[in-house]
Symmetry: D2
Subunit: 288 residues, 4 copies
């Protein structure tokens, strides 16, 4: 099986590296030049042409930053889909909205390419340690062919449903992240006002069953006043927006996510969009 | 050391039982008659007089339903404090607001009784299995005397700070419970509308790092449409209210908890106050 | 000058009638058959063909229910624009979103038709009594030609700015309607709970400087439990949605409109979408 | 009839002046020294002793800043009630919460003093021009005796109901002020972002039926960036808080007022508490 990985950013480079460590016959491509030493001494072919990267591949994985980038590479300006083999499989791991995944599927189908949407839970450290969780939308039999490779890159593969359902589920996960981060932040700030030590709160609260476990890591960042980006606040704002659009279309009231969106909007307007989304704490804190 | 436990409801009876299993010299008392078989064959003295229950005790634990009940038993109508030995310790494990704990401390101090506020995280199963977590406010040296007994009833004892800080911290924990339950509910309902199976969502979401771990148990209840009370929705509404009062006093904006309070208010107005607070899911679901 | 009016619903039929009462040379057209007696003994030509209706017109007014209907009639399936004279003027009085008005302008411009967006404030009674207010977007010199006719149908003509600004301003007006209706409703319900008579509140509050004056009429409807539609709740929900989209695009936090949108969403989900938007009172009231 | 007026601040001094212009036999008293020239050449007795001020009075009006001040003067430290004649009438025009009015009534009753709560709508200019509106709680026959004097100071006297209902109604009025100011501010800011001129919006919106008429004056202040206090933002925050307390006690959901409270909380925390409450516009505007 010939495997290709497209998009070698923070996430993609680590995911691809984990494939090479499992004796996969791998070709990689990035839109801009990358540091070749990343894949030095690895069993991997680094190519500079998109066409060359995909034309022989049985499976093409992609991990790109936005739906716009995915469109451009696969069926917009650059049209990788046109160079792929009939019946090959494209697995898009990028975070996109559900309707985009359905469009990507249709573009693939019209060219006899099979498609899966497979966004991930996890960021840099999980990518590094092959501890990602994949949320997959698409046909079971296609997933069966792809699953061994996903398992090299992650610790769990969850088929959520048909095409687009991977992206739908990822949307839920992201709004829970945004909201959990916010209620955690408000609790810490109220605790401080009630006279409880901030570091004590940051140390204790995340370990209780009332807190989403990811807050452990964010609490460390807050302690160190370190908001280096893992997932940018402006993207979180966008994901909240997309979720409220979906809720509107589905006629489903969604109180907390709507208010949460406005608080992220304010932080974004205040210039925090490029920081990690945990900077919502910093935003709330600085109002004094 | 002579130990007395007052309040043998769902929580208290289990906590007292765990004391007896560690060879504690225990006296128990409940305001209304209890099933004596609970403590059959146990090394425990069941008494029917409050005065008799406390007069010899070195440490008195209490686990009652409301601040009003605590006041009535200890320094209101019944005045247990007046019957206690000088320098004895009263440990109140009931959930009350911080200002009530400070009042209880002052009433104790004026009678030369030492006091700790020590509310717990956990409900019936944690009480049963001695897996409670105690949040303690008060003097370290007093806690040192009491700690062995708390460890018989729980798995962790956390001193949060001075008098009232146990209750303050418990307030934070409860509003995080209320809000986490709500964002979880809204995510499940939106997921359903996007075409993902409800049971699948209830099975998967609570196991991800974005969900507060307690939602695992609540998800089971939702699956079974079982909202038997573990912690009543109307009490959660009250705790949200108390927290927003505190936030007002501290001049600390608290967006999500305020909106969450109104949604619980609506559920409460709709007659769900005596169900478990996880019935907020049922409330949101039935709007169709 | 030859004038044509397209769309003879509740609003349009009354607006057209007011034109006839000022000796305007008027042709009217409706997509579905109308009661001809409406214009009996009036100086007006009722035609059954869209092409015939517009081909001689110097000015074409339209008052249709949705952007989709406007598109279909003017540049979608039916293409009235293609039948219009060069340099004629199309004045769209329908309520649409700003980006749609810009699209309508571009479609017009490419066919050498001049365009104004001119949505109105007011409903059935204001249309009847020529008391509408027009919010106009587009060129001043075009408005100058059209203004006399707008004055036959309304009491005030306000040029807000360039193309699309009429629609933008109308969006602001509608979200203020939605929110004012809600704060009025919540105040009346709280007042009742505090023991003040409901009819007294409905009679007094709208006359104070703290209440938007339109609540006078809505208070009458509430008194009579009459929610016959003047402006449907589901359209108000949609306008709130469009406004929050715009706020997102402009990175402008908009707390109250977002929460208001969710409350209308709930009322809509509860089957009140086809009632007047003042039924938000009924929705809040019935929760008991 | 002998009339006494206590509290000669911005409001009280103007109200008292209007009494003198109607040949009322007036005695005035202020807790701190006042500029005597205020009442120069007027038919008025300025006294420096509270006891002297009230002991002969048939009716005592009070206009003080807070419930705490009213309590201190009338039945706390200074106990004016103890010096008043049996069967005299105390009319409290201060803005207080309903439960305080009931307390004031009970304190009065126990001393055979008759009581009315009579807070006003209007600020400095309305006080000056005798255009206040009085919201009165209490017995009709007592109001009948007092009404001529209220009419000298205002343009309308509305009996809302029994004791406390004047204060209750005033609470509704104030939260409508707070919320209307906020939705107006958010609309202007969104309008600006959509490319409509700010001064145009400030000039037009307040004159439409969708805007509370008081926004006309506030729009002028915003244009001039003048937030000199007429009603302080921190008091508005407090009134929102009191209203949400009442809503909690009444089990009445109150979404918008709760969120509005948090936005005022944030402005207050940002140091705007002593500005006019219309500075909520400035607060929202400065987030950029």
């Amino acid at each position: 099986m010939k495997i290709t990985f497209i998009g070698l950013g923070i996430m993609g480079s680590r995911m691809a590296t984990n494939l090479t460590e499992n004796n996969v016959n791998l070709t990689v491509y990035n839109r801009t030049e990358i540091d070749n030493s990343l894949f030095k001494n690895k069993n991997v072919l680094v190519v500079n042409s998109l066409e060359e990267a995909v034309k022989e591949a049985d499976i093409v994985f992609s991990m790109l930053s936005t739906p716009e980038a995915v469109e451009e590479v696969f069926f917009g300006k650059e049209k990788a889909l046109n160079s792929m083999k009939q019946n090959a499989i494209w697995v898009d791991c990028s975070t996109v909205n559900p309707s985009f995944s359905i469009k990507a599927f249709q573009e693939s189908k019209s060219r006899n390419i099979r498609f899966l949407d497979a966004p991930v839970a996890g960021s840099k450290p999980q990518a590094q340690n092959a501890e990602l969780v994949f949320f997959v939308g698409g046909k079971k039999e296609v997933l069966t062919e792809v699953e061994p490779y996903l398992n090299y890159m992650g610790k769990k593969v969850l088929r959520i449903g048909e095409i687009g359902k991977g992206a739908s589920f990822k949307m839920l996960v992201n709004i829970m992240l945004a909201q959990s981060m916010l209620i955690f932040s408000e609790a810490v700030l109220l605790g401080e006002k009630m006279g409880i030590d901030k570091d004590f709160l940051l140390g204790l609260l995340p370990n209780l069953v009332v807190s989403a476990p990811f807050t452990k890591f964010k609490a460390e960042s807050i302690k160190n006043n370190n908001y280096d980006v893992q997932f940018p606040l402006e993207w979180m704002h966008k994901d909240l927006h997309l979720a409220t659009l979906t809720a509107y279309e589905e006629n489903q009231p969604l109180y907390l996510a709507n208010i949460t969106k406005e608080i992220y909007a304010e932080a974004n307007k205040n210039g925090m969009g490029r920081l990690d989304f945990s900077a919502i704490f910093k935003h709330l804190e600085k109002v004094k």
